[in-house]
């Protein structure tokens, strides 16, 4: 008579059951960490005169989605660029700082010509390490699923 015994089937079953849950949990956590790093990196890179632009970078979570927002009205122009032009000191900054003259302590016309992207470089810097981070969390999820 031949007897075949299969041991550890319940462990395999538990592992297969736990793995998707653990991967989901770990990837969600890591996404949050990744986005926090992008936000921090963008804040450090944001050009500063008054600090208003850096302050306006916020990170929010809606369900499983993370949203990085730049609430300053001139954030878009710093990021994407603009044609060199003159602005009058009495124009409003559209934030709590009042006029451009008040914010930068200038009078008359000011020439604005230089922009400094800060979100894309922050994203690029952090994306280079994303595959490594995902690989680490996947290994962690596999390890935890075995328990």
């Amino acid at each position: 008579m031949i007897q075949v015994q299969l041991r550890g089937a319940n462990k395999v079953q538990r592992f297969i059951k736990n793995l998707p849950k653990e991967i989901n949990k770990e990837v969600n956590n890591e996404t949050g960490e990744f986005m926090k790093d992008v936000k921090k990196s963008a804040k450090i890179r944001a050009p500063r005169k008054t600090g208003e632009l850096a302050k306006s970078i916020i990170l929010t979570k809606k369900g499983k989605q993370w949203i990085l927002q730049v609430n300053s009205p001139y954030g878009k122009y710093q990021e994407e660029g603009f044609k060199p032009h003159w602005v009058h000191a009495l124009l409003p900054t559209k934030n709590s700082l009042g006029t451009i003259g008040d914010a930068f302590n200038v009078a008359g016309f000011v020439k604005v010509s230089k922009h400094t992207p800060f979100v894309k470089p922050a994203l690029e810097h952090n994306l280079s390490k994303l595959s490594q981070r995902l690989s680490n969390v996947t290994s962690r999820a596999i390890r935890r699923s075995k328990k």
Partner: protein, 157 residues
């Protein structure tokens, strides 16, 4: 060193790293001008950094520790934590040397950290970055140290 309990977990862990680095990481000598650099500010957040003047640097930022936890045994919880330490310097060599100094300060005092319950201290990750603010060039080095901390869990049924 400050005693760590489950009621003072974050603050206790932070204080131990802060005190250690503040006493060990102060000045590095450089082969280029100005010859040496001394930490100007020890901070707990990058948001405190004032980018307006070169004289504000180097800055050592010791971030709050992350303390994810899980059940270890029936009566114990294990904190699988990490702490991120950053150095902001205007000179690349200084940034590298400060990073070495940070790692050395923790590595050589592993026994003392273990004395307050912080075990298995290992470097988890490192990163380097470079940003420009006007004429100020800032070299950033980051290191993440991971650790384990065990405490007796409160049992409730």
């Amino acid at each position: 060193m400050v005693a760590i309990t489950k009621s003072t977990l974050v603050n206790g862990i932070y204080k131990n790293f802060y005190d250690r680095l503040k006493s060990q990481v102060t000045t590095v000598s450089l082969s280029v001008s100005p010859g040496s650099q001394t930490i100007q500010t020890y901070s707990s957040s990058y948001s405190d950094i004032d980018f307006s003047s070169k004289s504000n640097f180097p800055i050592l930022v010791i971030n709050s520790p992350n303390i994810p936890q899980e059940q270890f045994t029936f009566g114990k919880t294990v904190v699988n934590g990490n702490i991120e330490i950053e150095i902001y310097a205007t000179n690349s060599q200084a940034a590298d040397k400060f990073l070495d100094s940070i790692n050395n300060a923790i590595e050589t005092y592993k026994g003392t950290f273990a004395g307050v319950g912080l075990r298995m201290l290992e470097v988890d990750d490192t990163d380097s970055d470079f940003v420009e603010h006007g004429k100020i060039k800032i070299h950033i080095r980051k290191v993440k140290w991971k650790f384990l901390y065990y405490y007796s869990r409160t049992k409730a049924f």
